[in-house]
């Protein structure tokens, strides 16, 4: 598991007790965990080339730009863009019991009342 000093950039292939006292070269106590060479290379290119140029570097950038096209979800758990096309807010679905649906991208919302009342009943029971 290689690590890299965040100050001087020295790479440590293996973890050692000495690292607990800080980087032997500069004394810094913060280290990056280094992922695969491909990820490192991509990260390096982002730093060097800037975001505009990275968008042209192939499949990874293409995926990233597709992600950018996804509508930004706010309070809704699900946004129905059109029949058969759904964008799901997994974080909201995991953390809230009530379901709020967004319709298209025009600011319309539908609140699924049964899910909301179920949550309130449950809370009451817990009290």
């Amino acid at each position: 598991m290689p690590h890299k000093c965040t100050r001087c950039g020295k790479v440590f292939e293996e973890l050692s007790d000495d690292m607990l006292k800080g980087c032997p070269a500069c004394g810094n106590k913060l280290f990056f965990y280094m992922r695969s060479a491909a990820a490192e290379e991509l990260a390096g290119r982002i730093r060097v080339e800037g975001i505009e140029e990275v968008e042209d570097v192939g499949a990874d950038a293409e995926n990233a730009s597709q992600t950018m096209q996804m509508p930004q979800l706010d309070i809704e758990s699900i946004r129905i863009l059109k029949p058969g096309v759904y964008v799901l807010n997994l974080e909201a679905l995991f953390s809230k019991e009530e379901i709020i649906m967004g319709i298209k991208e025009d600011g319309s919302y539908v609140i699924h009342l049964p899910s909301l009342f179920k949550t309130k009943r449950k809370r009451k029971k817990e009290k």
Partner: protein, 209 residues
């Protein structure tokens, strides 16, 4: 929440009143149903399947449960109920299914059912004692779905194992999954071929008992 759940799990272990309920989660086409079928074939019935496996994403759109599977690994025993859940996705678009020969009507129906399936999968989480989080080892593991589910499992205190599936494929890179989630247990397997399943069963017996 974590403490309460931990105490409940401890009580269940002491009382042994019911089987350990294990949910199989992951992105569409990660191999969840193949893994569930493999577990059932290995320990229950070689001819029985929990669900249909298909190359079309979102083939499983309802959660299916199989009860009373006795898993044995190196002398350890674990009686489990397996819950195979629909794939978790952040976008479900019927256009993606048209390429597999589905009509527009069928594709839209599939997209609607798949969306319901995601909600059902998430609801099941409250009722589980452990999770097998299946990832396709040929794909980039650093997805929003994987990160959200891992965060929620950690927050709820549900023990889980990351199953790096499809290692029989040439471009599989289970090490990429280990690198992405170094703080969690990752077991590389091929659910289809049965490779390294023994190791997974050992880990399940250790973590879910």
């Amino acid at each position: 929440m974590g403490l309460r759940r931990g105490l409940l799990l401890l009580l269940r272990r002491i009382l042994r009143r019911r089987n350990t309920k294990i949910g199989i989660y992951g992105a569409p086409n990660a191999g969840k149903t193949t893994l569930a079928n493999r577990i059932i074939h290995d320990f229950l019935d070689n001819t029985e399947d929990i669900g249909v496996v298909s190359e079309i994403p979102h083939e499983t759109r309802r959660a299916f449960r199989k009860e009373g599977i006795l898993i044995t690994a190196k002398g350890a025993k674990l009686r489990v109920d397996i819950v195979d859940t629909p794939g978790l996705a952040t976008k479900i678009d019927f256009h993606d299914f048209l390429a597999y020969g589905l009509s527009e009507e069928e594709a839209k129906k599939r997209a609607k059912e798949a969306t319901e399936g995601v909600i059902e999968a998430i609801k099941w989480l409250d009722d589980l004692d452990g999770v097998l989080l299946v990832m396709d080892a040929t794909e980039d593991p650093y997805t929003q779905a994987n990160i959200v589910i891992i965060g929620n499992l950690e927050a709820r205190g549900i023990p889980f194992i990351i199953v790096a599936n499809k290692v029989d494929l040439k471009n599989a890179a289970p090490a990429r999954i280990k690198n992405a989630f170094p703080q969690h247990v990752v077991v590389p397997v091929s659910a289809l071929k049965g490779d390294n399943m023994e190791k997974l069963y050992e880990e399940m017996a250790r973590r879910f008992r």
